[in-house]
Amino acid sequence: MNEKTNIKNDGFTAAENSAPVNPSEPLRSSDTAEGGMDILAFLNQDQQKDLLRFLTAGSVDDGKSTLIGRLLFDSKKLYEDQLSALERDSKREGHAGDDIDYALLTDGLKAEREQGITIDVAYRYFSTARRKFIIADTPGHEQYTRNMVTGASTANLAIILVDATAGVITQTRRHTFLVSLLGIKHVVLAVNKMDLVGYSQEVFDKICNDYRNFITQLDIPDVHFIPLSALKGDNVVEPSQKMPWYHGKSVLEFLEIIHINSDRNFNDLRYPVQYVLRPDHDFRGFSARVASGIIRRGDTIKVLPSGKTSKIRSVVSYDGDLEYAFPPQSVTVTLEDEIDISRGDMLVHPDNMPHVERHFEAMLVWMDEKPMDLSTNYFIKHTTNTTKVRIDEVRYKVDVNTLVKSKLDWLSLNDIGRVVLTTTKPIFFDPYRKNRQTGSFILIDPITHNTCAVGMIIDRLSIKDLPSRITDADREKIANGQPLVSEAVRTTRYNQRGSTIWITGLHGSGKNELAFILERNLFEKGAVVVSLDGSSVRSGLNRELDFSPADRAEHLRRVAHVCRLLNDQGIIAVCSFISPDASLRKQVAQIIGEARFHLIYMDATMEFCRKNKPELYEKADRGATEFLPGVDLPFDRPENACFAFNPEKNSENVEVILDYLAEKKIFPFA
């Protein structure tokens, strides 16, 4: 706290002025009841307590309710009338023989009392001199995964019960996986019913080892093991005399001392605006619960999504202005500048930004009887933001019992899977592992308004890394050999239509010069273009073909098919081939497609050609070579060319072609 100011922050911090408490002697409420402790001292100490929320997971048979009953009973949270009602009910409907059935305490609802099972999350409260505790009591049945996930979402710590006579079983693994999925950092493996295994250290050690081996594949940083008997009270509140080999703490002692405050994220300021306070023209406050990080008077902040920056003028609370606020405080801030901010916006430090994205991946738990539907646009509520979301793909489903991943098209009730999501507008998030507040969200069914799924964001994925979603229609296309990238999509991406510019003319007529200059021009303007000419094609693809009329026909047929493939994929082909025969040129046009075929004729005089290629023509004149168009093979002057060019003006000719392509919307398309 800043010493220079007299802005008060007292009352918001715990345990600074409280009386020192001897950790070895936890204060029981009975101390106040019978010991006559001064009530003011008690109240002053009580007001300094902090809060620990924990989850208990285990099956009906693990003795979970008995453990909770014990904790409540031994911390004197049970009143006389509740206890006598309990004794009465135990005899009437209990499942513990003549003993008190503590389970009846925690199984509140009528329906589940009849069935003898817990069917929902129940919250229990008790406190000791050091702490107040909230227990989320959740059932162990597989079909109620959603309840356990619910209980785990607000817990700092999980107690997972194991029956010492059964050891680490499928259910233990399931509970542990869910606890790790929900990001609980502290786990206590409570090995119960030690009385039934003769308080054996060997049994306990084996269970601990089994469990350690299992959790290496999960992300749980802090694990503790406690042997106990809830029924007999061993190591629940008081350390047991029956297990001298165990030197650790009892369950309650452990719960009292475990340090949890550092689990909060105090580094990354995330202030999701919840409510805009405007009581009069002078005051404009932005109320929120600090999700993470510290918000301080004088801090420079950036507003998402607008990106505008300002400074925190004041941190306001009913109890006086504060110098700073931290999670999970609910405060109101005012800014130095007037910026338009509304609910759902987020204040952050400019040098520490969350991800601002529409696409992300998350682990999703499906909570609704109605299964996931990929064609539904769900509501997503994330921090104080509500928008629409599409589920693009289920990457895999995780079997909670075996942790095996399998491919699945959608999730149903109690399924857990990794999914790809796209929201209508960008949301501001961090990975759940790093920030529970900004990494979690719920999905709401747009018709029933039920909370149908809950999610934990895995990490940012930029759009180029996202796997494209494969629909049933896609699969049909693939099966039929149809591409998934349509002509229209290519046209938009390349900004061109796949076409062939076919340049015909005698040897030495300047075809290649025109073709290569055109290719470079198109390329520089951003077109996707390929050039093909006789020598390059004949050097490989058509190596075995000669210049006879029959081979010439095959040569051009192959070139035409190459052009067609290129044009189909949206690419412009610039072709430079003599192609002297009018009927062959017509065949080429038919293969490529008349509409995509654009014929250009280099209308050069024989003198011009001979001057360009004197050796070739000389050889033909001597008869040293045959099949040279214009010499011993006729050249059909094209009647259907788009242009007949003078080869001496090739730079102008290129401009003419570019204009032509633009006019025909071949390139650029738009």
């Binding site: 706290m1 009352g11 911090t13 715990a14 600074e16 106040t32 009841a33 009530i39 003011l40 008690f42 109240l43 009580d46 007001q47 307590k49 902090d50 809060l51 009143y79 006389e80 009338d81 925690t106 509140g108 609802l109 929902d120 999350v121 129940a122 919250y123 229990r124 409260y125 406190s127 909230i134 959603r146 996930v149 619910t150 979402s153 405050n261 919840q274 409510y275 306070l277 009581p279 109320s287 619960r289 510290i294 306001v316 009913y318 109890d319 931290f326 999970p328 609910s330 109101t332 609910r343 509520k381 104080t384 507040q437 979690s440 719920i442 709401i444 308004h449 039920n450 909370t451 809950v454």
Partner: protein, 302 residues
């Protein structure tokens, strides 16, 4: 540097303020139900804190069964005037005119007509889509499973098997027309937390909570205050002066007093720590039938 940690009470306060703001932001027409009791008083203070320095942006509504302690009504009117609250008082007119009351019709009929039905009338009349209640999960077994945002259908009914999952602090506020949400910002508070908070925040409460010599009648083990002459005369004649106080406040014929010397908050807490009975034992209505609170909740009562 000091650790950035909150005490239990400050954490509960921050949570409640967040919940109250969430409702104000997400609903069209919320209301805060004000029962004049200690929990309501805490809840109203939290609402004031939530919107400070502005005013609470929704009205308070008191469902008057017409059988409340007179001191409660007096306290309500003075406090509301002093604070300038927007306070709606609603009662079941037909029930009142038919003379429904616990002495003549029994606690079951009275509670149903003058409390449950009156509440539903009030909610329907003003078309509230969200209603805050001061209930706590530690009060009673069926409440231990209650959501913070508790969905009610068009008939205000609660279905314990069909509640919306509620995770983290992300509350689903989506409702169709006619449906509503009951919101319990004090869900995670215990009775001790409430008293501790009242003490620390110096929140005014109805004097009936403090022990004082009062005329009471012992009815089947419940000490019932003689609050007005609607109590049958043969009962009133058995009245005796005893130093008593009330742990909870409701309709005077249905709320038993406890003998006590606790006339300050500190003494009340001290008494609480030594008391061996839960607070609901002073509520006559809970004993009407097995699982009666769950039944009432299903019918639309809080």
């Amino acid at each position: 540097m000091k650790a950035y940690s909150l005490t239990n009470l400050k954490e509960l306060e921050a949570e409640a303020i967040y919940i109250i703001r969430e409702v104000a932001a997400e609903f069209q027409n919320p209301v805060m139900l004000y029962s004049i009791g200690k929990d309501s008083s805490v809840m109203v203070r939290l609402a004031e804190k939530a919107f400070y320095p502005g005013k609470v942006p929704f009205p308070l509504m008191h469902i008057d069964s017409k059988w409340k302690f007179r001191e409660m009504i007096e306290f309500r009117d003075n406090y509301a005037r002093e604070k300038g609250w927007d306070l709606i008082v609603h009662y079941n007119k037909e029930g009142f005119e038919a003379g429904i009351g616990p002495f003549t019709h029994g606690s079951k009929v009275h509670t149903d007509v003058m409390k449950t039905q009156a509440l539903l009338q009030g909610l329907d009349k003003y078309k509230f889509d969200a209603a805050f209640g001061g209930a706590r999960r530690d009060e009673e077994k069926s409440r231990a499973k209650e959501r913070i945002f508790s969905f009610r259908d068009r008939f205000h009914q609660w279905d314990p098997k069909n509640q919306r999952p509620e995770l983290w602090d992300i509350y689903n506020a989506k409702v169709h027309k006619g449906e509503s949400i009951r919101v319990f910002p004090l869900s995670n508070w215990t009775e001790l937390d409430i008293w501790q908070y009242i003490r620390l925040e110096k929140i005014p409460i109805v004097p009936l909570y403090y022990a004082k010599e009062r005329p009471v009648v012992n009815l089947d083990g419940n000490l019932i205050l003689v609050d007005d002459d609607r109590m049958p005369e043969e009962m009133r004649q058995r009245a005796e002066m005893r130093k008593v106080r009330f742990r909870t406040l409701g309709c005077y014929p249905l709320t038993g007093a406890v003998e006590s010397e606790a006339d300050t908050i500190e003494k009340i807490v001290e008494e609480m720590m030594t008391i061996t009975k839960s607070e609901r034992t002073t509520r006559v209505i809970d004993f009407d039938q097995e699982a009666s609170m769950e039944q009432k909740k299903r019918e639309g009562y809080f």
